[in-house]
């Protein structure tokens, strides 16, 4: 297919065909990753700017390695806090444009910021998380992991447990999974469920056992105690007793259920330690696939005419 996008911003505006095409390309990249010498020349002479307005370790590492494996030059800018003297992301983007940056990988605490940046710069923008809106590449690695295990998305039941309202990867996952034909359930206390989510054909459960019934995939989310968020209403203790995924709960799900997590697991809070050590837990695959997916994105975006200016 003809992948002619300049930017990669959200799964909300992507077609099923495009998502599957990226996943297919990511398989090729995974092959590169499995080689002894992990280097492909596709981004030679291209520069990748990692523009993060939030602290990050894993995601940044994943993007940096992906770009390096494709032979790009990389600059990392981390601006940890949006302060009063904050220069809009637009002005920053123009600066990068003028210096010849080809890719901007952007993570920013405000929803919609990556789209705003993309509309105002020539460089290709990859959204590495905007506010509580989307984290589409993180979602693609989840989708890749599911596809590898299950072969297809059609008719799969996916249960997502945790702070859905404030999880950007979950938003991307919901849009992606629904487009690909899966059924999505979200599980959490009402304060962690975004309003009107049912209108997007998502089922809501407050009871974890009911929510994961017959699930093919269970995604658990990271518990964060953000003091400014409504989510803090439920205490850590109560969250553990009502929403921790216990090993015996898996009986309610399908026999071949897989369990996933976006990373940085709070051991013993979101998932019981026994599941973490078990075969059904696929975090390691997710991490590997993350690099492959990001390589695929960089590769595909570099194919557009605009980058070869």
């Amino acid at each position: 297919m003809d992948f002619s996008r300049k930017d990669f911003i959200s799964l909300m505006d992507m077609s099923e065909e495009e998502i599957l095409y990226i996943l297919e390309t990511a398989e090729t990249m995974k092959f590169v990753l499995s080689q002894k010498n992990k280097k492909a020349p596709y981004l030679q002479g291209k520069s990748v700017i990692i523009l993060f307005y939030e602290k990050s370790t894993r995601a940044k590492l994943s993007y940096e390695l992906a770009a390096q494996y494709l032979s790009a030059d990389i600059v990392d800018i981390t601006i940890p806090k949006v302060t009063d003297q904050y220069e809009t992301i637009n002005d920053m983007g123009r600066t990068i444009d003028q210096m010849g940056g080809d890719f901007i990988i952007c993570r920013h605490p405000m929803s919609g910021s990556a789209k705003f940046l993309a509309e105002n710069v020539q460089a290709s923008v990859i959204n590495a998380g905007d506010g509580i809106n989307e984290d589409p590449s993180q979602s693609l690695l989840d989708l890749m992991t599911i596809k590898n295990e299950k072969g297809t998305f059609k008719g799969l039941k996916v249960a997502i447990i945790g702070d859905v309202a404030h999880s950007r990867v979950t938003r991307s996952n919901i849009w992606g999974l629904i487009k690909l034909g899966a059924e999505v359930c979200v599980v959490g206390p009402p304060t962690m469920i975004p309003p009107k989510i049912e209108k997007f054909n998502v089922k809501v459960f407050y009871d974890i056992k009911k929510g994961i019934e017959n699930a093919d995939v269970i995604m658990t989310l990271r518990y964060t105690s953000d003091k400014n968020s409504d989510s803090q209403l439920i205490t850590l203790n109560e969250y553990k007793s009502f929403f921790r995924l216990e090993e015996n709960f898996l009986e309610y799900a399908k026999d071949d259920v897989i369990v996933m997590h976006p990373g940085a697991v709070n051991r013993g809070i979101e998932i019981s330690s026994r599941i973490l050590e078990g075969k059904r837990f696929l975090l390691d695959d997710q991490i590997t696939n993350g690099v492959a997916v990001r390589m695929a994105l960089l590769y595909l975006l570099s194919m557009r005419a605009g980058v070869l200016k």
């Binding site: 929803s111 910021s113 705003f116």
Partner: protein, 430 residues
């Protein structure tokens, strides 16, 4: 200075709207209305054949920005913008810098507007010092200096006891207390309506109950104090129902809304459109329906422009970072006419009540709000058949953007008169 407006259809309860009448104006006052008034040598003839004449609109919610925020707007531009929109009287929210919270600032505002503006500008005084919601201002002194209402503009007074006392105290002056109703705790960090779009776009939502809770509190306080309460923005079904309940139960409450609250839903923010970022936020189709019902049955008394300009830099930025605000003066009449009158929801007389007569009544403006003998010659001549697209870039306002940009509307202000003087004519540079 005498004028005769010839062959106009007059929008008024007193005169037959289907009859072509002449309006004789002398010294800024409407002296006589009748058929075929004979001019003498000195009278200027204004031909209004086929056009409608209605009282100039009176805006009850408008940010003047001067002094202190001249980068956003200034008196000269805002009065031009108002004239284009058919507003002959605008009020000024107290949220300038310095805040209009004492008589010296009131006097300053009057001296400035007298010097620079050719429309009527009437300031509101703040009810709490610096609009901080902590300490009451010298309301009586400001009333003596000429304020027409007390209001903290777009800032709600959170303190129940303080607001109750202000309402009680205001009775001494029989002045309307204009409140902006949003419970700030429920509003939180929200930037758009909480619901479908906030979930879709991953933006923090503002609950509809944030407005409903504040409206109900204010109505209860007005009921028990007997004060004159005005709610500046009604945007939710809940708020419409509460105001209706209040009126049915004898509470001295009036309410207003803006054209965007009965024409645009939360869907307007699609694609992170910051031009549709307003406070209170745009709500749902059901709320639009309720606001329209409220306008129709008289629950809502006033339609204001909601003109709250912000500089373009504060709109061309990340959605969370963008300021709330809209450029409303020049789109209010055509949008309102197209959506409410042309569609058959209300008639043109109702619209004039909502945009002119009722505001005059609430603010206690004598001789304004009607086309009648003895009233001020503040009026507009409008072509109600002209169809065109709103072009925000041609706004006189400093804020040349609008969520209505490109919208096809009907109804254009052809001429605007203040005190008998033509201050704006469509197609003619002022």
């Amino acid at each position: 200075m005498r004028k005769i407006i010839k062959k106009a259809f007059i929008v008024s309860d007193k005169y037959d709207i289907n009859k072509k009448l002449d309006i004789y104006i002398s010294n800024g006052t409407i002296v006589k209305i009748g058929e075929n008034i004979e001019p003498n040598e000195e009278t200027e003839i204004v031909d209004a054949d086929g056009f409608f004449v209605m009282p100039g609109f009176i805006d009850m919610y408008c940010k003047m920005c001067e002094a202190g925020y001249e980068n956003k707007h200034n008196i000269v531009m805002i009065s031009q913008s108002a004239a284009v929109g058919g507003f002959t009287t605008i009020t000024s929210l107290p949220n300038s810098q310095p805040v209009i919270d004492n008589k010296t600032v009131v006097e300053y505002v009057y001296s400035k507007t007298r010097e620079k503006s050719n429309i009527n500008m009437l300031p509101y005084g703040s009810m709490t010092k610096e609009c901080l919601g902590k300490e009451v201002t010298e309301i009586g002194e400001m009333i003596d200096a000429g304020i027409v209402a007390i209001s903290d503009g777009g800032v709600p007074v959170d303190d129940n006891r303080l607001l109750r006392n202000i309402l009680l105290y205001s009775k001494m002056f029989d002045v309307p207390v204009i409140t902006f109703c949003l419970d700030r705790q429920l509003t939180g960090r929200g930037v758009i309506n909480s619901g479908y779009m906030s979930t879709k776009m991953g933006l923090e939502g503002i609950l509809r109950e944030a407005e409903d809770v504040a409206v109900s509190r204010n109505i209860i306080l007005a009921k028990n104090t007997g004060a004159r309460l005005h709610i500046s923005h009604v945007t939710t079904r809940g708020a419409v129902e509460l105001v209706r309940y209040g009126k049915e139960n004898g509470v001295n409450v009036t309410a207003g809304t803006c054209p965007h609250y009965f024409t645009l839903s939360e869907m307007a923010v699609e694609g992170y459109n910051t031009f549709a970022k307003v406070l209170p936020p745009l709500r749902t189709d059901d709320d639009i329906k309720a606001v329209k019902e409220g306008i129709k049955d008289g629950t809502i008394d006033v339609i204001t422009s909601g003109h709250t300009p912000v500089s373009i830099d504060k709109k061309k930025t990340e959605f969370d970072n963008a300021s709330f605000g809209i450029s409303g003066l020049e789109s209010a009449f055509p949008v309102c006419f197209s959506e409410m009158v042309d569609s058959g929801t209300i008639n043109i007389k109702d619209m004039v009540k909502l945009m002119s007569s009722n505001p005059a009544k609430i603010l206690g403006l004598k001789n304004k709000g009607y086309i009648e003998e003895g009233f001020d010659a503040d009026f507009i001549v409008a072509d109600l058949n002209e169809k065109y697209n709103i072009d925000a870039s041609s706004f006189k306002s400093k804020a040349k953007y609008s969520p209505f940009d490109g919208k096809c509307v009907k109804g254009r202000v052809v001429k605007t008169f203040v005190k008998g003087n033509c201050i704006y004519e469509y197609g003619v540079k002022c």
